[in-house]
Amino acid sequence: MFSIRIVRRPLCHLTMALLLSTICISLSWAGPDARALLKESESRHRTRTQLYAGELTVVNKEGKVRKKGWKSFREGYASDAKNLIRFIDPPEVKGVGFLSLARPGGQNPDQWLYLPSMKRERRIAAQDRDASFVGTDFNYEDMEEFDHEKYKVALKGEQHLDNIPCYVIEAIPVEKVGKSVYEKKILYLRKDNLYLFREDLYRKGEKEPAKRMVLADLQQVEGHWVARKMEMKDLKKGSTTTVLLKEIVFDRPQATGRFTLQNLNREGGD
C-alpha cells in the first residue's frame, strides 16, 4: 500500500493532485480513520519525479507586488525526497538556488540556500525554520515535505468549503527528533478525490491560525491531478504569496548529481 503524504511544497502538492486525479476514489470509500485517509491520499497522488516552472507573486498588505520565476526539480518522496529550486527571474536573483535533502528517522531535512554573489551556499539552521523563504509567505518549514508519520492525526469531522465537501483533519507535530514551528495544522481534504484543498497553520501558543494555504485550479496533467495555483496567506501580516505552476512534467529521469551541494554551487547548475 502506498502511503499518502500531503506535502507542503508546491511540487509535492502537484504530485498529490496528479495521484488523486488518476486514482479517483469515491467519497464513501474513505473511512473515518484520519491516518488511513492520508495514506490513501498519498498513494493516489504520488509521482516518482516532477519538474515545473513556477511563477511566484508576493502581494503585501499595501498591495505592492513582487514577482519571481523559478524552476523546480524533485526526485524521490517524503523521507527520501530531494528537491532543487533554481531562480531564473528577475535578473538580480538569477542563479539563486535552494536545495533540500530529506533525512531519515523523522529528522528535519538539510536545507541550503545558494547565493551567486557570495559564490557559496549557506545552511539553513533549525533556528531559522520560521524565517521567510526568500521573502515569500512560506517559511523554510513550509518548504519541507509533509510527512504524516511525524504527526498525530485525528479526523475532526466534515465541512463544505466553496460547496466542496471536505474531511477536516487535525495534525499535531510529534517532535520526537525534529522540532516544528507549528503547534498544529488543520487539513481540509476533498472528499471527492482526497486532494488537499486547504490547510490552516497554527504557530506555537496561538489560538488563531497564523497562515492559510489554499490549492486551486485543479487540472489533470499527464494523467495526474494537479492544482496549478497555490496560495499562502499570512493572516497576520495580510500578505499573500501565489505560485502558478507551468510546464509541469512527471516521472522523467533526473540528471545524476543534480541534488548535490556541488551542483547547487555551480552557477546556473540545474
Binding site: 499595501e62 513582487r66 531562480f87 536573483v93 547565493l115 554573489s117 557570495m118 539553513i124 533556528q127 521573502g135
Partner: protein
C-alpha cells in the same frame, strides 16, 4: 553682606568690566575645558557601551576569539544543548566618502536567521526588508537607519559611496530601519549587511568577529558559559554583552583618562587667573577696605565679601563655562572618537548630551576654583588694618608667610619630587599623584622668589635697550612683585606643561623613529588594512607565493600580529618568517644574541620578547611565556629580549611556522617585500598593484611612506597633548592681558603725568609691550628647567611605569623655537588692549586719579 555685594562689588564690576571679564574668562576656560572633556568622554564611553548593548540585542552571550571565530564553530555551538539560537556578527567601522556624515558602523549579520537575536523595526513602506532575496542576491545590499538615510539624502534603492579596505564602494540601500532599539546603536550611524558579504568585504576569510548566542529558556547564563567554555576551549572568550561592553569601556576610559591632565591643567590655570585678579583687586580696593574697617567691618566680613564675590564669579563662570563646554564637546568627541577608533577600533558616534552630573560637577569646580583662587587674597584683605590702608604712597598687601620658609619648603618639595622620580618608592597612580603634587608645589613656591631674582637681572638689560620704557616697565614689574610673580607663575606652569609634554612627545617619537629606521628595512610594505591596530582586512596566506613570483622581487615575508590578553593586558603577538627577517634586520639585544634568537625562534620553537614586555612582566631569557592559543595553552621559552617599540604593552615574537601551527590561521597583515638589487622599486610596486587590483585591498607603501604613515598614526595618539599645548598658550595670553590691564589701571596716575610731560601714546605702548615681553621671557626662562624636569619625569619613571619603555631624552628644540616666535607675538597682542587704554587716557582725570 548682601548690601555690600550688591553695592560695592557690583559697582566695582561696572567700573572694571574688562578685568572682571578676564577673571570670568579664567573660570570659563577652566570649566569649559573640564565640562567639554568630561561630557565628550562620558558620551564616548557610554556610546560604546550602549552600542555594544544595542547591537547585542537579545544575545545573552558572545563568543569571540583573537583573529576571529571560525565558521565551523557556529554548527558546533548550535548542536549544543541549551542553545536556542546563534548568530554570527562582523563589526567594522567605515567612513562614507562624504566624510561629514561621520563614521558608519557596519554590522554584518545573517539576515536569514537573525530575528531571533535583534529586533529590526522595519515599519511603514517596507514592512519587511523590501525583498530579502533581492537583498541577499546582490552583494552591494545594505540596510541603513532612517536617521542616517535622512542625513545622507538616501532613499530606499538609492546608493552611497563608502570607503572600505578594497577602495571606495557603492552600496545600495535596500531597506530602512526605524530608529528604535538596535538601530539606535552607534548614534544611528549604522549600516547592516549580510555577514557573508561582510566576510568578503573586510577580508575575514571564513571567520566571524563573534558569535551571538541566545540560550534556551530556563538555561542560566552560568550554565551557558560553562557549556560553551568546556566545548570551545581556552582560546575562545565567552562573555555576556554587558561584560564585553564593560571591558571595551574600560580600555577606552583608560585612554581618555589622559585628557584629565588637560582638564586639570585648565582648571589650575583658572585658579591662578582668579588668584591674580583678586590679589590685584584687593590692592586696588585697599582704601575702600580701610574705610569699611574704620566703619566697623570685622575682618571676617571683609573676607566674606571677597569670597562672596568669588562665589558669584564661580557660579557665573561655571554656568558660562558649562555652556561654552557643550559647544566644544562635540569637537572633543570627534577627536577622541577618531583616536580610540585608530587605537582600539571602537568608537561611538552621536550628539553629546550634557549629563546633569557633569553640569553639577562643572559648577562645583568653577565655584571651588574661584574660592581657592580668592582665598588667599581675601585673607590678605581681611588683614589690612585701616591705618595701613590710609597710608599714602605705594601699598602692598603683605602676603601671609615668610619668603625664607617658602623657599625652604619649595626646595624640599621639588627636591623630594626629583628624588622620588629617580627611585620610585611605590608605583601606580599614587606615585604620579604624589610626584605632580610635590613637583607642582615646589615650583609654585619657588617661582615667586625666582621671578624677582630673574627680573632684577632682566630689567637692567631691558633698560639698556630702551632707557625710558625699560625703566618704567621694570619698576612696575618689580614694584608689584606679587602680581608679577602670579602672572609669571601661571605662565611658567603653562610653558612647563608645553615643554614637558612636548619633550616627552619628541623623545617618544625620536625613539620610535630610530626603531622604525632600524627594523623597517624592506623596500615595500603590502598592507591590507589602513588601521595599524585593528586590521579591517587580512590577506590570505597563499598570496605570498604570488608575490614572490613577480619579477624584481627578492623575498617576501608574511607579518601577522594579534593582540591577545596577557595577565589582563592587551599585548601583541607578532609572527614572521624569521629566517628571512634576520638576514636584513639588526636587533638591539637587551638579553641574548642573534644566534640564540635565530636558533630559538626557528629551530627550538621559542619566542623572543620585547624589552618592555620583559620589564613589565619580569620575564627574561630562560623563562617562559604562556600564551592561550586555539590549540590550548602553550608555554614558549624566551630565547632573547630585544628592543622593540611595536606595542606599548609588550610584544612577543614568534616564527610564522609556530604561529600557524598553534593558531591555525595563516592570514597575513603585511607582506614585507624586498626587491632584487638593481630592480626599480616603483616598477615592482606597480606590478604588485596590478596583481592585487580588484582582488584585494592594495595599500603598497615604500619604506619612507610606511614610516610616514605610522608617524601620522602616532600623531593622532598625541592629539591630547596638542589640546594642552593650545590651552597653555591661551592661558599665557589671558594671563598677560589681565596682568597688563591691571598694570595700566594701577599706573593711571603715572601714565597721566607722563602724558602731561609730553609722552606719545606710542612711547607708552612700547613700555607696555616691553612689560609684556619681560613677563613672557621670565616665564619662559623659569619654565625651561621646570619643563625639563617634567619631561624627564614623563619619559622616565612615568613611561616606564605605563609602557616599560626606557627612552633617551630628546630636547624639544622645535617647540622652544616655536615658543620663542609665538610668545613675543602673543605678548604683543596681549599688550594691545591695555596699550590702547593707556593711549586714550585723559590727562587731567588720570592725574587726579586716586
Amino acid at each position: 553682606m548682601r548690601f555690600l555685594l550688591r553695592t560695592l562689588s557690583l559697582s566695582y564690576v561696572r567700573r572694571h568690566t574688562a578685568k572682571t571679564v578676564l577673571t570670568l574668562l579664567g573660570v570659563i576656560v577652566g570649566v569649559a575645558t573640564f565640562s567639554s572633556i568630561e561630557s565628550a568622554k562620558g558620551t564616548l564611553v557610554k556610546g560604546i557601551r550602549s552600542t555594544v548593548d544595542r547591537v547585542a540585542g537579545k544575545a545573552q552571550l558572545q563568543i569571540t576569539m583573537e583573529g576571529g571565530v571560525p565558521e565551523a564553530v557556529q554548527e558546533q555551538v548550535r548542536a549544543l544543548p541549551g542553545i536556542r539560537a546563534t548568530s554570527p556578527v562582523i563589526e567594522q567601522i567605515v567612513t562614507p566618502e562624504k566624510g561629514e556624515l561621520g563614521s558608519l558602523m557596519v554590522i554584518g549579520i545573517d539576515l536569514l536567521g537573525d530575528r531571533e537575536m535583534r529586533d529590526y523595526g522595519f515599519e511603514g513602506d517596507d514592512a519587511d526588508l523590501d525583498d530579502p532575496l533581492l537583498f541577499l542576491a546582490q552583494p552591494d545590499s545594505a540596510i541603513f537607519t532612517r536617521q542616517f538615510a535622512g542625513k545622507a539624502g538616501l532613499k530606499s534603492g538609492g546608493s552611497i559611496a563608502i570607503k572600505v579596505p578594497k577602495g571606495v564602494k557603492r552600496v545600495a540601500a535596500r531597506g530602512l530601519l526605524t530608529p528604535k532599539g538596535f538601530s539606535e546603536a552607534f548614534g544611528g550611524n549604522l549600516m547592516v549587511v549580510d555577514v557573508y558579504a561582510a566576510q568578503e568585504l573586510f577580508g575575514r576569510g571564513r571567520r566571524f568577529d563573534r558569535l551571538d548566542v541566545r540560550l534556551d529558556e530556563g538555561v542560566s547564563i552560568a550554565t551557558g558559559i560553562a557549556t560553551l567554555e568546556k566545548t570551545l576551549g581556552p582560546a575562545f572568550r565567552v562573555e555576556t554583552p554587558g561584560k564585553r561592553g564593560e571591558q571595551m569601556e574600560k580600555i577606552v576610559a583608560n585612554f581618555v583618562a589622559g585628557f584629565n591632565i588637560s582638564s586639570g591643567f585648565a582648571l589650575a590655570i583658572g585658579i591662578f587667573l582668579i588668584f591674580n585678579a583678586f590679589n590685584v583687586a584687593v590692592n586696588r580696593r585697599r582704601r575702600d577696605i580701610g574705610t569699611l574697617r574704620a566703619l566697623g567691618a570685622t575682618p571676617r566680613q571683609v573676607q566674606l565679601l571677597f569670597l562672596a564675590e568669588a562665589l558669584v564669579i564661580g557660579i557665573v563662570g561655571g554656568l558660562l563655562g558649562t555652556l561654552a563646554g557643550t559647544t566644544f564637546s562635540q569637537a572633543f568627541l570627534k577627536m577622541m572618537g577618531q583616536t580610540t577608533e585608530t587605537l582600539y577600533g571602537v568608537t561611538s558616534s552621536g550628539i553629546v548630551h550634557l549629563p546633569p552630573v557633569v553640569v553639577l560637577e562643572s559648577l562645583c569646580l568653577g565655584i571651588i576654583a574661584s574660592l581657592i583662587g580668592a582665598w588667599g587674597p581675601a585673607l590678605t584683605a581681611s588683614r589690612i588694618s585701616p591705618t595701613e590702608a590710609f597710608a599714602k604712597g605705594t601699598f602692598q598687601a603683605r602676603p601671609p608667610g615668610r619668603s625664607g620658609l617658602r623657599i625652604t619648603v619649595g626646595v624640599i618639595a621639588l627636591g623630594s619630587a626629583i628624588l622620588m622620580a629617580l627611585r620610585p618608592p611605590f608605583g601606580g597612580n599614587p606615585f604620579i599623584f604624589t610626584e605632580l603634587l610635590l613637583g607642582g608645589a615646589g615650583i609654585v613656591l619657588l617661582v615667586g622668589p625666582l621671578t624677582l631674582l630673574l627680573l632684577l637681572g632682566l630689567v637692567p638689560l631691558a633698560t639698556r635697550f630702551a632707557p625710558v620704557a625699560g625703566r618704567l616697565s621694570g619698576d612696575t614689574l618689580l614694584g608689584n612683585a606679587r602680581r608679577t610673580s602670579g602672572t609669571i607663575m601661571a605662565m611658567a606652569l603653562s610653558l612647563t606643561f608645553v615643554l614637558g609634554l612636548g619633550g616627552y612627545m619628541g623623545s617618544t617619537k625620536k625613539a620610535l623613529e630610530r626603531w622604525m629606521n632600524d627594523s623597517l628595512t624592506c623596500d615595500l610594505f603590502v598592507r591590507a588594512s589602513a588601521n595599524f591596530n585593528r586590521p579591517d582586512f587580512l590577506f590570505p596566506g597563499g598570496l605570498r607565493d604570488d608575490l614572490q613570483q613577480l619579477p624584481g622581487v627578492k623575498s617576501v615575508e608574511s607579518f601577522r600580529a594579534i593582540r591577545p590578553l596577557y595577565q589582563g593586558r592587551q599585548i601583541q603577538v607578532t609572527s614572521i618568517e624569521y629566517n628571512l627577517l634576520l638576514e636584513r634586520i639588526k636587533y638591539d639585544f637587551t638579553q641574548g644574541d642573534v644566534a640564540a634568537m635565530r636558533r630559538g625562534l626557528i629551530q627550538e620553537g621559542k619566542c623572543v620578547v620585547s624589552d618592555n614586555f620583559s620589564r613589565r612582566y619580569k620575564l627574561g631569557v630562560g623563562q617562559r611565556v604562556e600564551l592561550v592559543t586555539p590549540s590550548g595553552k602553550v608555554s614558549f621559552p624566551i630565547a632573547a629580549v630585544v628592543r622593540d617599540y611595536g606595542s606599548d604593552q609588550g610584544t612577543v615574537m614568534l616564527d610564522r611556522s609556530q604561529f600557524i601551527r598553534y593558531w591555525q590561521d595563516d592570514r597575513v597583515d603585511i607582506y614585507d617585500v624586498s626587491v632584487l638589487p638593481g630592480s626599480n622599486v616603483g616598477q615592482v610596486r606597480d606590478l604588485i598593484r596590478t596583481m592585487l587590483a580588484g582582488r584585494y585591498p592594495a595599500l603598497v607603501s615604500t619604506r619612507q611612506e610606511f614610516i610616514a604613515e605610522i608617524t601620522k598614526a602616532l600623531d593622532a595618539f598625541y592629539a591630547l597633548t596638542r589640546v594642552t599645548l593650545f590651552l597653555a598658550l591661551l592661558v599665557a595670553f589671558l594671563g598677560i592681558v589681565s596682568a597688563l590691564l591691571i598694570s595700566v589701571a594701577e599706573r593711571t596716575r603715572e601714565i597721566g603725568i607722563l602724558k602731561a610731560l609730553g609722552a606719545f601714546p606710542a612711547q607708552l605702548a612700547r613700555g607696555i609691550v616691553l612689560e609684556a615681553l619681560l613677563l613672557a621671557l621670565a616665564g619662559l626662562v623659569l619654565a625651561l628647567p621646570a619643563g625639563n624636569l617634567f619631561a624627564f619625569f614623563m619619559e622616565g619613571p612615568l613611561a616606564e611605569l605605563f609602557t616599560g619603555w626606557i627612552m633617551s631624552h630628546h630636547y624639544p628644540w622645535e617647540i622652544l623655537l616655536q615658543l620663542l616666535v609665538a610668545l613675543p607675538l602673543i605678548s604683543a597682542l596681549a599688550a594691545w588692549i591695555p596699550a590702547r587704554q593707556a593711549g586714550k587716557m585723559k590727562i587731567v582725570e588720570a592725574i587726579e586719579y586716586e
